[in-house]
């Protein structure tokens, strides 16, 4: 299985400077569809799905490897090397921002800039550090994922609709954008929300942009400020956009902030 097939890598755009877009927990490369058109003319765009998401090869999912963010960061480096890319502009959303930081620490020569959308080095409050969630809240999340009551209908639909004579009904029910295998999504959530990468961020030399949304319950403003203070080569933009996905809810503002940084 080639790396490109494993991660469902899609390359487009007319430019030569590579921009690699990494999606976060919850969706797949479709997350970038409102942002991509603004960069297609001037950049070479690389999109991919993390193993377990979208059209990636589910068989390649190894719980040990992907039990830590390093496993995902290794995949990003493999994609870059496979395509022979240099001076990559990395754009990572949510937990993929931290994967990008890890990859850039391992191979600083391959990256020219990092753009971090809604990043967080740790989601759990710890002493003076405010991550946004108490430990027991994250435990409640993991428990609810284990008991599988979130997205229950999505996970069950294929079973209930597994009637060959009613195929079209099943197809209509299954959403075509945020396809995730429920068992893998559960483990990805565990990997994501128990991750703590605070100790590695200060050594990062790559120039970085932090895009911080308003009212983001997953990566609140204090987290963005913490990262900005810890990362010497970073800039931070406080966006008007609210929520955790400005790439979807405010694509124009997101594009503008990225272009200004580049």
């Amino acid at each position: 299985m080639s790396v490109l097939k494993r991660n469902n890598v899609v390359v487009c755009g007319n430019g030569s400077v590579p921009m690699l877009f990494a999606h976060g927990f919850g969706c797949d490369q479709h997350m970038w569809r409102l942002v991509i058109p603004a960069f297609e003319k001037d950049y070479k765009i690389i999109l991919f799905d993390h193993v377990g998401a979208g059209n990636s090869d589910l068989k390649a999912y190894d719980p040990d490897k992907y039990g830590s963010l390093e496993g995902y960061a290794d995949d990003i480096l493999e994609i870059i090397r496979e395509l022979g890319l240099q001076d990559v502009i990395f754009v990572g959303h949510s937990v993929a921002a931290m994967m990008g930081i890890m990859a850039a620490r391992h191979a600083p020569d391959l990256f020219s800039k990092l753009i971090l959308v809604g990043p967080s080095p740790s989601y759990i409050n710890d002493g003076n550090y405010i991550g946004g969630f108490e430990k027991d809240q994250i435990e409640e999340l993991l428990e609810s994922l284990d008991s599988n009551h979130l997205g229950w209908s999505m996970a069950m639909a294929p079973v209930i609709m597994g009637n060959p004579g009613r195929k079209e009904l099943g197809e209509e029910l299954a959403n075509s954008f945020c396809r995730t295998d429920p068992a893998i999504a559960r483990q990805f959530a565990r990997t994501t929300f128990l991750s703590d990468t605070r100790d590695i961020i200060s050594s990062l030399q790559t120039p970085s942009l932090i895009l911080q949304c308003a009212d983001d319950v997953i990566a609140p403003r204090v987290v963005g400020e913490y990262l900005h203070a810890a990362m010497l080569a970073s800039k931070i933009v406080f966006m008007k956009a609210t929520g955790h996905c400005p790439n979807l809810s405010a694509p124009e503002e997101t594009i503008e902030a990225i272009k200004a940084f580049l």
């Binding site: 999340l141 428990e143 994922l145 009551h149 997205g151 945020c178 996905c245 979807l248």
Partner: protein
């Protein structure tokens, strides 16, 4: 009264589901009283909050990372299981549906959500999940026990063979030296019993081998099968001297098979026919070779096998009725069918008022 009946505001607020309108930033513009009642505040207090603020941590993250993106991309989501986080710290299981209203140019205007109470349904789902987990655990346990049991059978059968061979050897020495009539008779009975026991142990070993090793091992060689089959028939003729066994063989070329196993298959079928078939009618053994297929059948007359027994006839430990019998362990037909399978063939049975016929049919070796 007629006014309340047609009062839309009353309908909106007191409907049995929660209604919300949320702006493009995810903030609640309007919610009905039912929604507020569930949360434990007033509808006015809900306005201005994010919808995800009303959810448990899991739901909050799920909403922000999955559902909101889904709304922006496909414009709706249906029947999503969430939990409301109520003011009194209770969790209320709900099902949420939503769609994004867009203008002519496809720009989002607002989102409407409908929320249904799903306490009973969640309970039902939890019970289903618990039952599923229980059933899976039980199955795994049973499989483990069953494998142990079969290993036990294999070990037992194997270990019984040595003491039994010393009994057979001893009885053979005794039969050579016994002088008086009563001793001779007793030794002969002992030898017969020991032989029967050895046969049963072989069957048990075959059963365990088939179960543990994933099928019965066979060593197929091109063989002139006519004389081999006739030898088996003659053996049974001497065991059943009063019975007539007709043979019709038409085998023109060598058959690719495991000789001891095919002999065992015929021996089992024939012994079965002689034991269960009508005592005053002949038993037929037919074998022929056609278009590469080898077919061997044994038929007898007598009472047809009842339908219920027919369905389980090739299962192990199947005996006439459920009483222990003199005829062995009930493994004969099971082993015969395993031999057929190991030859990529099949063993079938037909039983009616005219005859009961077991047929082994084997395709050419590919």
């Amino acid at each position: 009264m007629a006014d309340i009946q047609h009062d839309f505001e009353d309908f909106f607020n007191n409907a049995l589901c929660g209604y919300l309108t949320v702006d493009t930033n995810g903030k609640i513009l309007e919610a009905n009283n039912r929604m507020a009642l569930w949360i434990g505040c007033t509808a006015a207090e809900l306005a201005g909050k994010r919808f995800s603020d009303l959810l448990s941590t899991g739901g909050k993250i799920y909403y922000e990372t999955h559902l909101w993106p889904l709304l922006r991309m496909q414009g709706f989501f249906d029947e999503v299981a969430l939990e409301l986080a109520c003011i009194n710290n209770e969790r209320l299981p709900v099902l949420a549906n939503a769609y994004e209203r867009r203008d002519r140019d496809g720009r989002p205007l607002f989102v409407r959500l409908t929320v249904f109470k799903a306490t009973d349904r969640r309970l039902y789902e939890q019970n289903l999940r618990i039952e599923k987990t229980k059933a899976e655990t039980k199955l795994t346990d049973e499989q483990t026990i069953s494998a142990l049991r079969e290993q036990f059978i294999a070990v037992l059968g194997h270990d019984l063979r040595n003491p039994l061979s010393s009994i057979i050897a001893g009885a053979s020495i005794l039969s050579a030296t016994a002088q008086a009539e009563p001793e001779k008779k007793i030794v002969s009975i002992m030898q017969n019993s020991a032989r029967r026991m050895a046969g049963m142990i072989e069957d048990i070993m075959d059963f365990a081998r088939g179960r543990l090793g994933g099928g019965m091992p066979v060593n197929r060689q091109p063989t002139e099968t006519g004389p081999v089959l006739l030898h088996v028939v003659n053996e049974l003729r001497s065991s059943f001297p009063d019975r007539i066994i007709h043979t019709e063989f038409n085998i023109t070329e060598p058959v690719n098979c495991d000789v001891p196993r095919i002999s065992q298959l015929l021996s089992n079928l024939l012994a079965n026919a002689l034991t269960h078939g009508s005592a005053d009618a002949p038993v037929f053994v037919r074998a022929f070779h056609q278009d590469g297929f080898f077919e061997l059948s044994v038929s007898n007359s007598g009472k047809p096998i009842p339908l219920a027994a027919l369905e389980k006839i090739f299962h192990p430990f199947t005996r006439e009725g459920s009483q222990p019998s003199q005829n062995g362990l009930g493994l004969g037909l099971y082993i015969a069918s395993q031999i057929a399978l190991a030859h990529q063939g099949e063993l079938t049975v037909l039983s009616d008022e005219q005859e009961t016929r077991f047929t082994f049919r084997m395709p050419p070796l590919t």
